[in-house]
């Protein structure tokens, strides 16, 4: 791993269009500012890994596993008057 020392308000560049700036340092917490092209997703690592795990788990679901969902949707629909505003459907 490349290790660089930086002070507050200093930056590093990754490639020619990603800039990571040390915005603030307080105790054991560092605040980073990240400038990257919008097509490059930036995530906290633990959040990204949790989404990965969750997606892989969700990808194991089969149509038969979702039976309970229909009854639940019917019940929610019957419980007016707070009608949820659903997005357009295909």
């Amino acid at each position: 791993m490349l290790v660089l020392s930086r002070q507050r308000d200093e930056s590093i560049m990754i490639g020619d269009n990603i800039v990571v700036t040390i915005v603030d340092i307080r105790g054991d917490k560092v605040r980073l500012g990240i400038n990257a092209p919008s097509e490059i997703p930036v995530h906290r690592q633990e959040v990204y890994e949790a989404i990965q795990r969750e997606n892989l788990r969700a990808a194991r679901l089969e149509p038969g596993d979702t039976e309970g969902l229909g009854r639940l949707a019917d019940r929610a629909a019957a419980q007016g008057p707070k009608k949820p505003t659903d997005g357009p459907r295909r």
């Binding site: 919008s38 097509e39 997703p41 995530h43 959040v47 990204y48 949790a50 989404i51 990965q52 795990r53 969750e54 997606n55 892989l56 788990r57 969700a58 990808a59 194991r60 679901l61 089969e62 149509p63 038969g64 596993d65 979702t66 039976e67 309970g68 969902l69 229909g70 009854r71 639940l72 949707a73 929610a76 629909a77 707070k82 949820p84 505003t85 659903d86 997005g87 357009p88 459907r89 295909r90």
Partner: protein
Amino acid sequence: MRINTSRFGRIDIDAADIISFPSGLPGLEGCREWALLADATNDALGWLQSTTQGDIALAVVSPRRFVPDYQVRIPRSELTPLAIADLRQAQVVVIVGSNGRTLTLNLKAPIVINLEARTGRQVVASGELPMQYELPCATPGLKKSA
């Protein structure tokens, strides 16, 4: 185009109905193109089916239908790649999963789809939201293998 799927058999998908996810989905980075299918029996449920990997599909629902007070706030930077200024121009769905006991909804990382441009992205919503919001319905024996 015709694809063979493990869940729905052989299906025909109109090229115009393909939704592209330029950044992929975390964990499923290889799948960039998906089709949104309606479930055969459950009108509350849709399936995002990978058009390149027939065995990969994600169950999705409109979150408000199950969690009426779900307020999703998404940083503008997450929406920029979709070329939408605000969420009213988009369809927001959440992925249905299972924690082994109940079905769950990933409220923290919804999928935002620009229906006109047919592009989508899984985003990280602001605030404290669960990735496994438990629905009050049990999962019948979930298969262990993919």
